[in-house]
Amino acid sequence: MTGNGSPTDELDEMFARLARGERNAIGRSFELIHPLVRRFCRRLLGNAEDADDATQQALERVFERVSTYDPSRRALPWVMAIAAWEVKTIRRRSTRNRQRQASESGEELAGNLPDPESLAMQRQLLEVIEELTLALPEGERETMKHLLERELGAELADGSDATFRKRKERLLTKVRTVLRNLGHVK
């Protein structure tokens, strides 16, 4: 596969080379995905420290798994799905820490009330998808939005958390509505 100049095509090509064991593609791949992953994590987590942790974890996970990357798939949604997983892990850790601190200080827990971070995350995810696809040519943009919506939606879903699943459904509905209003889907 040869790139036609688009950064996502170049990323696809770099990842295909890494999957084949061409180590000289590591540097360029890192240059391409590091800013995207960092921005993604910062937007979703807000807290710079957590975002840096998530970025580091996500980048390590991406490069560790890239040998199993299937070159017939687009690389960007694959990378962002891994980053979304790391964001979710960091969020869980933060929630657990907060719960522990709250129980130690004897405060009542919020119970089933939605986590403010989750709500903020849902709002921001829409903006992030928009931002990630901004630099793409018009034809590719629509496809990439669908791919990101599918991959990130799946990764952010938590099978053990019914509330979060419902929130994810609402988020996907919102994404579809936005895309429909923009004329990307019928």
Binding site: R20, E22, E64, R65, S67, T68
Partner: protein, 181 residues
């Protein structure tokens, strides 16, 4: 900031190598399991298990290294099936293999390896560095081929190596004829 980025990139490189090692170990285990199962079914002697271990080690190293070696792994294994199937089908040595039997074994292994070597060249013909990739592929042929032999012996091994040399000679002649015409 740039120090942090450098550190992140170094960690990414380490993670990549870790991933390749896991990937290679998985491939090697798969190869070893398949070989050992085949040898158990065929009831072969312990020496064959050492050959299977060598083959798995080569397979793992190729998968880890990637590039030309990684591309040559599958063609090498496929090409190695030729002498393996020929040996398993045509050789029927009893306890001892010497004299005429050894000569027969060498011939069968040699022919099998030569066909395998040419097959590897055909499989690698589209590769941008096909000569290098071919060498990687044919390095696997003796190990795969030996698994089909009734005994692991110098005769069989010599036959395989002679066959590969013959394949190299055949392949060396073909391009020069093409360029002269």
């Amino acid at each position: 900031m740039s120090n942090r980025v450098t550190l992140l990139e170094r960690n990414a490189q380490r993670a990549y190598e870790r991933g390749r090692l896991k990937w290679a170990a998985m491939g090697a285990m798969l190869l070893l399991t398949a070989s050992v199962l085949g040898l158990l079914v065929a009831g072969r002697s312990p020496a064959f298990y050492a050959v299977a271990a060598v083959l798995a080690a080569f397979g793992g190293a190729y998968a880890w290294r990637g590039g030309d070696a990684g591309n040559a792994l599958l063609p090498g294994l496929i090409a190695g099936l030729v002498p393996m199937v020929l040996s398993a089908g045509l050789l029927d040595c009893r306890v001892e293999c010497s004299g005429l039997c050894m000569h027969h074994c060498m011939t069968v292994c040699g022919i099998g390896a030569a066909i395998g070597g040419v097959a590897a060249a055909v499989l690698m013909r589209q590769h941008p560095r096909r000569h290098r990739a071919w060498l990687f592929a044919v390095a696997l042929i003796p190990a795969v081929g030996l698994l089909g032999c009734p005994h692991v012996g110098y005769g069989q091994l010599a036959g395989l190596l002679i066959g590969l040399a013959a394949a190299r000679a055949i392949l060396g002649v073909i391009p020069s004829r093409r360029s002269s015409s």
